[in-house]
């Protein structure tokens, strides 16, 4: 499998005699289960510590051990943290993929490789650095198992020398990764040094790529989106979690469990102020969440595509009975089992109208780890305010990869627990009718078991405003219309899009989620390489707020950039557009399982612009 199959054709051969500072993509090709993650994170962190903007993306198989894995680290002085399609510097450790990995490099790239793989005769336009890993590891430890694990630290040492990554930072990063395990630190350090010394003595620098200290990461953190979302859920005061393990969402609940254990014990009794239940499947996971939400708990689950399919029936129940629930969907590639360890934005339509009958659900669309954190809190507030299931659509790229971010702010707004009936409200309203639209916003008052307020009978079957079973035409239609009114209220409450209007252009881009990072880079490329200025709107939620229509109105052509085949967000937009707006919408799509990159957006947009303007 090739990660960079089109890179060769696209990058013109150019001489790289000059130094290329803090601007390259480095890829480590290994076998999964070989313990390369520590070495890769140490590398990433070292560059980060030197003040250079970085991002780390793991492309791994749906397998525990033995299949190819690629880890890509991008250093970008300009701060681009989306994927870069071309690999500039390869570390070829996997015999199975080494040949293809080398063949797909662009001219002028460099490759460190395990000497016995004999790669250097494959290309004349690539700089090769053979390293005898087995020879170097032999004197470091006699333990065969340990040898396998620390072998990867040798390439860190080699790269430290070749890319001028400070060894002091390497050691600091290693200590950060390993904690206080002094023996392990010492062992890894000797492997690191062995690599460095070997490179210093045997590998003269022939490629242009170097790392130089900058000051662009001061005060920043490195974190995965799933961990960020977990922190957000804890700060949102989650009290109930029902979940079922599924890639790529498992680490969200697993991180959450760790944080809850640490920070959510009652100080007096030491007992948990939360419950986490690993359910028997995703159906039960959401069923539990619906039960807990009905009771008044702040309840959530986290899943991915196949889990979303299974949750359809309960989502419809939550919508119709009007129970708050927060559902994280860390999207992966479908259909069906699809590519469980690859990224996509393919669940937009499925979640927006999940379940049979007339249903629609608010979606939050985080683009960054920071938004994974803030939108987790917003999702709980919205779910309780709107008394309905709310989806947060993350994806594998955001959830499982390592992103640079500013630190997260402590929330300033108190929790919004929504419209709960209390004695004062009951007196004011005269009587309790669970589904009566008292305030005209479609949101009724609710009571929960044990609160001392009047009870009602929650049911997924047809009901009137007093929650009584009803098959009457007017009861049914009135209720459904009120639910539609409630969705209009949602439109006023969800996060508004981020809009950047450029002067003197009628070309617009609409993006959402991780597509954002490719668009940021592409917009710069469009100006620099083609003189095309663009306006940009980043969607942050569904239902769409009025800003979206206004944005389309101010453009002649609007390119909706997304990571799926069927232009799912564009389809949702079309459902709400006027015919004039509709005619302006175009699609830039990316669906190969890898995160979208800026160059792909640029190339496709330019192609379509040429057609549009001739």
């Amino acid at each position: 499998m090739s990660v960079t199959d089109v890179a060769v054709q696209e990058t013109a051969s150019q001489s790289r005699t000059e130094r290329i500072v803090n601007d390259f993509s480095l890829q480590v090709a290994t076998v999964n289960g070989s313990g390369s993650q520590t070495a890769n994170l140490v590398l990433l962190r070292s560059i980060f510590q030197m003040g250079v903007p970085v991002s780390g993306k793991n492309m791994f198989p749906s397998n525990i051990a033995g299949l190819p894995t690629w880890y890509t680290i991008r250093a970008s002085s300009k701060g681009y943290i989306g994927r870069k399609k071309e690999v500039d510097f390869l570390v070829a450790m996997n015999p199975e993929t080494a040949r293809e990995d080398v063949m797909t490099l662009p001219p002028g790239a460099a490759a460190v490789y395990d000497e016995p793989l004999k790669l250097k005769d494959l290309r004349t336009d690539v700089v090769f650095y053979p390293v005898p890993f087995d020879k170097l590891i032999t004197p470091i430890t006699h333990d065969a198992k340990l040898r396998r694990l620390v072998r990867n630290m040798i390439y860190d040492g080699v790269l430290s020398r070749l890319l001028s990554i400070d060894m002091g930072h390497m050691e600091k990063a290693l200590r950060k990764q390993l904690g206080k395990k002094e023996k392990a630190v010492a062992l890894n350090m000797s492997a690191l040094k062995a690599g460095y010394d070997y490179a210093e003595a045997n590998l003269p620098k022939l490629d242009p790529f170097v790392v130089e200290p900058m000051d662009k990461t001061k005060g920043l953190i490195l974190i995965e989106g799933n961990a960020a979302a977990a922190i957000g859920c804890m700060m949102a005061g989650v009290t109930f979690v029902g979940w079922y393990p599924i890639t790529p969402s498992s680490s969200l609940c697993e991180s959450l469990i760790d944080y809850l254990k640490k920070y959510r014990k009652d100080p007096e009794t030491g007992k948990a102020t939360y419950a986490v239940i690993q359910a028997e499947d995703e159906i039960a996971a959401l069923g539990m969440v619906v039960g807990a939400g009905w009771m008044g708990a702040r309840a959530m689950t986290s899943t991915a595509g196949p889990g979303i399919s299974l949750m359809a029936e309960f989502t419809g129940l939550g919508y119709y009975v009007e129970v708050p629930a927060v559902i994280f969907d860390v999207q992966r590639v479908g259909p069906s089992t699809g590519l469980p360890t690859r990224t996509a934005q393919q669940d937009v339509l499925a979640t927006a109208i999940l379940s049979h009958g007339d249903t629609k659900h608010p979606l939050l669309l985080p683009a960054s780890v920071n938004e994974c954190y803030t939108m987790a809190m917003e999702a709980f507030d919205l779910a309780e305010r709107l008394q309905t299931p709310v989806f947060v659509l993350s994806d594998l790229d955001l959830g499982m990869n390592t992103w640079m971010s500013s630190t997260f702010d402590y929330p300033t707004k108190p929790l919004d627990r929504g419209k709960r009936l209390d004695a004062a409200a009951l007196k004011r309203l005269g009587e309790f009718a669970r589904y009566r639209d008292v305030d005209g916003d479609g949101i009724p008052y609710r009571t929960v078991p044990g609160d001392g307020m009047p009870a009602y009978f929650a049911r997924g079957s047809g009901h009137n405003e007093k929650a009584q079973y009803s098959e009457r035409a007017d009861d049914y239609a009135n209720n459904l219309d009120r639910l539609a009114r409630k969705f209009e209220t949602a439109r006023t409450l969800v996060p508004k899009p981020d809009v950047t209007m450029a002067r003197d252009t009628r070309i617009g881009l609409i993006g959402y989620g991780t597509t954002h990072w490719a668009i940021v880079e592409s917009r710069d490329q469009l100006v620099a390489d083609y003189g095309i200025d663009t306006s940009y709107l980043r969607l942050r939620a569904y239902p769409f707020t009025p800003e979206v229509g206004q944005f389309i109105d101010r453009c002649d052509r609007v390119y909706v950039v997304e990571q799926n085949r069927d232009a799912q967000m564009l389809s949702l937009l079309k459902m709400e557009c006027t015919p004039e707006q509709f005619a302006k919408l175009r699609s830039v799509l990316h669906y190969v399982g890898l995160p979208i990159d800026g160059r792909s957006v640029t190339t496709e947009l330019v192609k379509q612009e040429q057609v549009a303007t001739t």
Binding site: G287, G291, M295, V321, P449, G450, A458
Partner: protein, 351 residues
């Protein structure tokens, strides 16, 4: 479970329970099930049991799935919150609800299709967790609401009204529940009010999953010759395991029992059940005895009724979770949102 509501003085001339409520306070909406349906008889016993125990109905939650049986929660305890959820998934809704508010007493009503077919997965895991809930299967061996198809508890060889013969063996929900870890398992018959009420009262007083399979003939689709869940068949083949007497914790035990034939079991809240043995060597606290009995009676085409298995001290799911004593759902922000120091510490770990 809190059954300790304050004792109210009784209003003159009307029969009230120990918290001063009349039986009317335990009723629900008018039933829409067929006249003579076994389910209605079960509803009546549920009303009687909560009334007798003097449980505040506002402290109860009623749950169900889908089917004739699952309509029943609307017909009792009007002032309790109810949740008629989706087909076969009441156990998960109940799990979330009970964990979110451990103070509430939960009763779930299911059917043989709702439990044995579409819901068997959730049923299995509910039993395994020993969640504190009374789980009643109103078992008529057929799908009433879709007009009489066989359910997985229909006996091998029994026939539909149309003459169709069931050629698959039944699932014995009691044997399954015992095997899986339910701590209170009973079988009864909707036409045996005395036994059913005693079992229900014991189940409500039990802490943990109390699973009761109540054979409840479907008068419309399954009460004919050839059905093994008809009134006539069950009346003839009911083998009462023991004579069940229930004594709530707040009543003095005044009845005399012969020590040689009576087994006394104390429930978590101090209530007692007296099982006057009809079978010589039956041990309701022994899983193997219970399973043997079920297999033997089943082989004879009989239903053993009574409390089949009980493990009063088994740790329930709520204890296992180690959660706070107050309801999770009602925790204030001060207890659920960690302070800024916590966030600062977490942020520091990612630098």
């Amino acid at each position: 479970m809190s059954t300790e509501a304050p004792v109210q003085p009784s209003a003159p001339g009307r029969k009230v329970n120990r918290i001063g409520l009349e039986s009317l306070a335990y009723r629900g909406s008018k039933t829409t099930l067929c006249a003579g349906c076994g389910h209605n008889a079960i509803t009546e016993r549920i009303i009687d049991s909560f009334f007798d125990l003097g449980i505040d109905p506002t402290q109860v939650i009623k749950l169900s799935g889908i089917g004739c049986s699952s309509k029943a929660p609307a017909y009792f305890l009007n002032s309790a919150h109810g949740f008629n959820s989706v087909h076969g998934r009441m156990p998960s809704v109940g799990t979330g609800a009970v964990v979110a508010n451990r103070k509430m007493i939960a009763i779930g009503i299911s059917g043989d299709g709702d439990t044995g077919a579409i819901g068997i997965g959730q049923f299995v895991h509910l039993m395994r967790r020993n969640l504190p809930i009374v789980y009643v299967i109103e078992d008529n061996g057929c799908y009433g609401l879709t007009k009489g198809q066989f359910s997985p508890t229909a006996d091998l060889g029994s026939t539909l009204k149309t003459g169709v013969v069931n050629d698959l063996p039944p699932i014995d929900t009691c044997a399954l529940a015992i095997e899986l870890g339910a701590s209170f398992v009973a079988r009864s018959f909707s036409g045996d009010p005395k036994q059913l009420k005693a079992i229900l009262k014991a189940a409500i007083s039990h802490r943990g999953t109390a699973m009761i399979d109540v054979i409840s003939p479907c008068v419309t689709f399954n009460d004919h010759e050839g059905s093994t869940k008809s009134y006539a068949y069950v009346k003839d083949h009911d083998e009462p395991l023991s004579d069940v007497s229930f004594v709530p914790f707040f009543e003095e035990i005044s009845v005399e029992y012969d020590a040689g034939t009576t087994k006394e079991v104390t429930l978590h809240n101090g209530s007692k059940i007296m099982l006057t043995k009809m079978t010589e060597d039956y041990q309701p606290t022994d899983k193997i005895s219970a399973l043997r009995l079920l297999h033997e009676t089943m082989a004879r085409g009989e239903y053993a009724t009574g409390i089949l298995y009980i493990e009063p001290d088994k740790q329930d799911f709520i204890e296992l979770l180690g959660i706070v004593d107050e309801p999770l759902a009602g925790l204030p922000e001060s207890k659920t949102r960690p302070g800024k120091a916590a966030l600062d510490e977490i942020m520091e770990s990612f630098r």
